[in-house]
Symmetry: C2
């Protein structure tokens, strides 16, 4: 594969995924560039899903939506081809995972609409840059995620509880983290809760529903952010006939600079 020497790191990552060379998780790739959750749905469901995202902006901040059948998302990247540029995809039929694959050529259809949804990888980077210990990063594991009893606002077949990610922090860091993440509404924004997990329906922090448990040390508060797994969970619960997502951790690397998404 030949890659132009002036390709950005983000473009480079996509080209490596496209060629089949990159099939691993994207954490740490192309620092400073926004990575995105991916959901691809038939046009007949796309407008309800778009409405679901509009009604639940903390969980489902939309970075881009394609035209039906168009595999490109020019606002997110030069030359971006959604059929090939993610390292690993999951294909779902009737709510069941039927295949993991490195490209979508064999399942692409003219009625598919692609949704790129903000993810917390990028704000973790900002927290670390401000000197805050992001536990799952310092431990080298996946962020712990939990189903809550906070309802989402339903749209068509899409509904269900908000899923949150959790980072334990000292109070001073939690306050600073509110300030830092408030700047990025497109990356889930400010926390939705901090302190007592039971208040949002979490029984045991050491038993996350997704990802890995991390230690909450004496003097630390758990801090909870709306999570991009929420829409995937709503899609799965709706048991829709056909859809495609990225495989966990294998994100769409965009050409958007994280700092360009700062609201202030």
């Amino acid at each position: 594969m030949s890659i132009a020497p002036d390709a950005t790191e983000s473009h480079h990552a996509r080209l490596r995924a496209r060629s089949g060379e990159l099939t691993k998780p994207t954490a740490g790739l192309a620092p400073g560039y926004v990575q995105a959750n991916l959901a691809i749905l038939p046009r007949s469901l796309a407008s309800d899903f778009l409405l679901f995202c509009q009604r639940n902006p903390r969980s489902c901040p939309l970075l881009g939506v394609s035209d039906p059948g168009d595999p490109h998302l020019p606002s997110l990247g030069t030359d971006l081809d959604i059929r090939t540029d993610v390292p690993l995809y999951r294909v779902w039929r009737d709510g069941e995972l039927v295949e993991e694959c490195a490209n979508l050529h064999h399942v692409w259809r003219d009625d598919l609409v692609s949704f790129a949804i903000g993810c917390s990888f990028s704000f973790d980077e900002s927290l670390v840059a401000h000197g805050i210990d992001v536990r799952h990063m310092s431990c080298g594991c996946n962020v712990p995620m939990y189903r809550t009893h906070i309802p989402t606002a339903a749209a068509g077949p899409f509904s269900g509880p908000m899923v949150v990610s959790m980072r334990p922090m000292k109070a001073a860091d939690a306050i600073r983290a509110v300030q830092i993440t408030s700047r990025f509404p497109a990356l889930h924004g400010a926390p939705v809760h901090l302190g007592d997990p039971a208040e949002i329906g979490i029984a045991d922090l050491q038993r996350p529903d997704y990802g890995d448990a991390v230690e909450v040390r004496v003097g630390e508060l758990p801090v909870f952010w709306a999570c991009g797994v929420t829409p995937q969970s709503a899609i799965a619960a709706a048991r829709i006939a056909f859809c495609i997502t990225h495989a966990p951790g294998h994100m769409l690397v965009t050409d958007l600079k994280t700092q360009s998404l700062a609201a202030f």
Copy 2:
């Protein structure tokens, strides 16, 4: 008409519109409550319009979207009925204004989707509260609005240039206004431009395309915000078969508190 004594000022305004008692512009009504632009479209066009709003969040910040055929928007107000609660409506057919009316009972259809879009009335209130002279308010006229050469991102039949509103300010106030309005992305957020109008395709500030001209004094900069007329302009240009909007200045008064929309 009997109105419960504990009705909020916003609810009270809607009930007065519903009874036919309120048919005038809503500027200054129910201070502290968010007022919204209204667009009502058939379901067949709603998903393209929703996409247009998603792609142009500065011009078209969505406060709420109804389910098809449902005249209620419970997230925006107790008992809100979109068919009656706006003081004056406009009905459009094939891109032409065909009627102004005080309610929608005679034109309502089961396939209509209502879009409530943020408006700058609420941030004007915040600017004044911070001691900034908002010229069109101190002059008692309508805000000047201009078509620019800044393109919107198209979706389906909807496209066209961004329309902006303009407020002249001294530099120190312009800087403070950036800070204040950045807090309210759902009310158009920070300015899109300040200084030379020609840079965004405005030839003459004294000849606005909508609203009234205001004086720009020596030592003042014109400051420009994306405007909720942008989607109306896109709807008109698309010459769609049927739609409904509010009449200019006759906004939907919601139960949302302006301060509850502050992003930080």
